[in-house]
Symmetry: none
Subunit: 443 residues, 2 copies
């Protein structure tokens, strides 16, 4: 099963936005074991969208078209698909009602244009919307298929997981492809570089290659499942180690992943320390939240250069109200002195970070205080270069673990790295409260 | 002259990196007045690169292939182009010498693979490297052409400017095509829906279409430039109105954009109010920052459900230290009472938002206080549904403009919409301090 992606939108061709949907779909198709050999981008032009779809159908078995399903006159993916299918568009009564209901529920007037979103090529199946108004489409063309999804990233992703991937899997099974199962698991790391990870895990990669050769896997994978390891830099969120298992069934894949995860964790702990903060969708703040809940500790954060980024990430965790008291964004030095009780003087020091952590703990009445100060740039401050950052904790027992960091990148990256580094200090401390804090190094 | 871009690299298909080269080239081709109707991405596979090139040549007059020119075995763009041209590769003696010199000058051993970069399809012209080792190629195919450039962004960009764009211009002139210019400008809006914008501007769109037909533009655009209008939903950042002008020269395009921007602003102000917050890269926080600087006002923010998002966006503006005092993240109700002086009782009310704005203004000593409280979800709070949000300001004159909002979406979107809505309340108030605040409606 070869799937081609067609991203629709003149703004993509003009370079006004990056094709992040194509990137996301490429990653998720690969993780699902589906081949994708070509991507295309095309503008909001009916004839050219039709050309792109015909080209994609000639090269592949399935096409995912992203974008051009909205209510305006330049949203014409529906028309182009109908042209390629050689069928008329039919207005779908149930979708019309839902779109009208969507507007009514919000007390907003609906312009008639919006009902264009209820137009469906005859013979197509609808993928219901759960978030916006434009439904997705599953459009059969003989044994091939065109899926259409909105260009809004979270709507696209949700429809892919809920409707497209299951449909693709069904088609693959019917085509006798990969009777096997592909499952992957991601170990998320912070505080090391891709080359250090790769070096640490080279032994495992070689061992898996040797096993793979021995086991001579059929398409469904070997008896116990064959596993591969890949690295994926994910910008400000650290580096992911992705384990992908191919096996005859889900149990086989899962047990292969379990076994390999254990091996990888042991190797990493022995070589690089406590760098794995979570699995799959577990973000740094979720890892921290789980530890705070488990240890029944509340938190307050005092932020300077991060300016609320840390608090905002923590508030993003559902249920944060049970353990997060709040925060003080002490951007102006005067606020550090007056609200947090930092001693007047230099404010980009380890002592200032500790005083901020102590101050916010006292002001907000939390069990733990976290303080961050530093230079985001572009200019130096107090004679210190951008990227100079201090993070500190004030713990219930009076201990104040702290760290001095030198972070790379521009203003935005320094701030983001500072936020996740501060959360990682808290995570490591909560994991080994008796040992204090082991320093991470940034790659 | 229609130019198609073909990005080469398996990492693009797997979503491991974004196709920023395609984005950059799209932007620069448009700015140069060159049409680009399709982009493709393809993996490091000779047959599939050849397929992508043939497809592109069938649809366009010129192809820019990015990537796959390096020294390793999976760099095979050269071989694929030679296949499409039906010519052999010939090792170029001068380039071989330069590559050897490159390594010698750096005191590094050269693996023989590196000389693959000196292989040139017979009949192609070389674009000399000024930064790395892999030269670019200009490969004629009858009256069409394939340009090949390295995938390293700064090498690609330099070769495009120095060699490809001049060659394209020469071909366009020879083909009698206007050396026209395309420029675009984006009006960024908050507080309305795409369909409402589209309806409000339908008259302008029709008028431009009529002008376009009258002016019978040559490919270089009409006398005064022809303008088109398009809409672009950009997730949590509102909806963009993009004006694109095609004219004989930059002055023509700019004056066409100036004239149309004025028309569009007038129509929008008359129909939808003060919804345009900035142009092009001006974010909501930049718009707010400019007003605060201009009016010499300082700001403090008190956040509940947004939990630091607003402060973090503001700190992201370079120079924020001149006008941003800081913030209080009062996530726990007790913090609202103890730190901000909100009266004990319900905290998801317009009164609580006002008290938070007043409290933070007092605690941080800022000229203006901004307060936000509400229900992010997933659960209701104080009997109020997720999406119920109150934003308020405390101004130096004692006035406290406030707004009650009903925002759509999940927890994350409600928080993001709350943050930008609060900033928009501040923006609108600063723009019309004598009139108070005009309510936005969210689309």
């Amino acid at each position: 099963m070869r799937v081609e992606i067609v991203a629709v939108g003149t703004e993509l061709l003009l370079g006004q936005i990056a094709d992040t949907n194509g990137q996301w779909l490429g990653e998720h198709l690969a993780a699902a074991g589906v081949d994708s050999y070509f991507h295309q981008a095309v503008g909001d032009n009916r004839a050219r969208i039709a050309t792109a779809l015909r080209t994609a159908l000639a090269r592949g078995d399935a096409v995912i078209a992203c974008g051009g399903l909205g209510p305006t006159q330049d949203d014409i993916t529906r028309e182009a698909i109908a042209e390629v299918m050689n069928v008329p568009l039919v207005r779908h009564a149930e979708i019309s009602r839902r779109i009208e209901g969507f507007f009514r529920a919000r007390g907003r007037a609906m312009s008639p244009n919006n009902l264009r979103q209820a137009d469906v090529p005859r013979g197509a199946t609808v993928i219901d919307q759960t978030r916006g108004t434009a439904p997705g489409l599953i459009c059969p063309l003989g044994r091939k298929v065109v899926y259409a999804v909105p260009g809004v990233p979270h709507e696209m992703a949700e429809m892919f997981e809920r409707a497209i991937l299951p449909d693709l899997r069904r088609r693959m099974t019917e085509a006798g492809e990969g009777a096997g199962v592909i499952m992957s698991r991601v170990l998320r790391t912070w505080g090391t570089s891709e080359s250090a990870l790769s070096e640490a895990l080279q032994g495992r990669i070689d061992a898996l290659d040797a096993l793979d050769a021995l086991d001579a896997p059929a398409q469904g994978g070997g008896r116990a499942g064959t596993v591969t390891i890949a690295f994926l830099a994910s910008g400000i969120e650290g580096i992911k180690v992705r384990l992908t298992a191919r096996a005859r069934d889900e149990d086989g894949a899962r047990s292969a992943l379990d076994a390999e995860e254990k091996e990888v964790r042991e190797v990493l702990a022995a070589t690089l320390g406590d760098i794995v903060f979570g699995l799959d969708d577990v973000s740094m703040e979720l890892a921290v939240a789980a530890l705070l809940v488990e240890q029944r500790l509340s938190l307050g954060v005092a932020e300077s250069l991060t300016g609320g980024l840390i608090a905002a990430r923590l508030v993003g965790v559902p249920g944060a109200s049970t353990w997060l008291r709040g925060g003080v964004v002490a951007y102006d030095s005067a606020v550090k002195f007056s609200v947090l009780g930092v001693a007047e003087g230099p404010v980009v020091t380890e002592e200032a970070a500790i005083a901020m952590a102590r101050g916010v703990r006292r002001v907000l009445g939390s069990a733990i205080g976290l303080g961050v100060t530093g230079v985001a740039g572009p200019d130096s401050q107090e004679g210190l270069a951008p990227g100079t950052v201090f993070v500190a904790l004030a713990l219930p027992n009076g201990v104040t673990p702290s760290r001095s960091l030198r972070l790379p990148g521009d203003r935005e990256r320094v701030r983001q790295y500072s936020a996740i580094s501060a959360l990682d200090l808290l995570r490591r401390t909560l994991r080994t409260p008796e040992h204090g804090f082991e320093a991470p190094t940034l790659g």
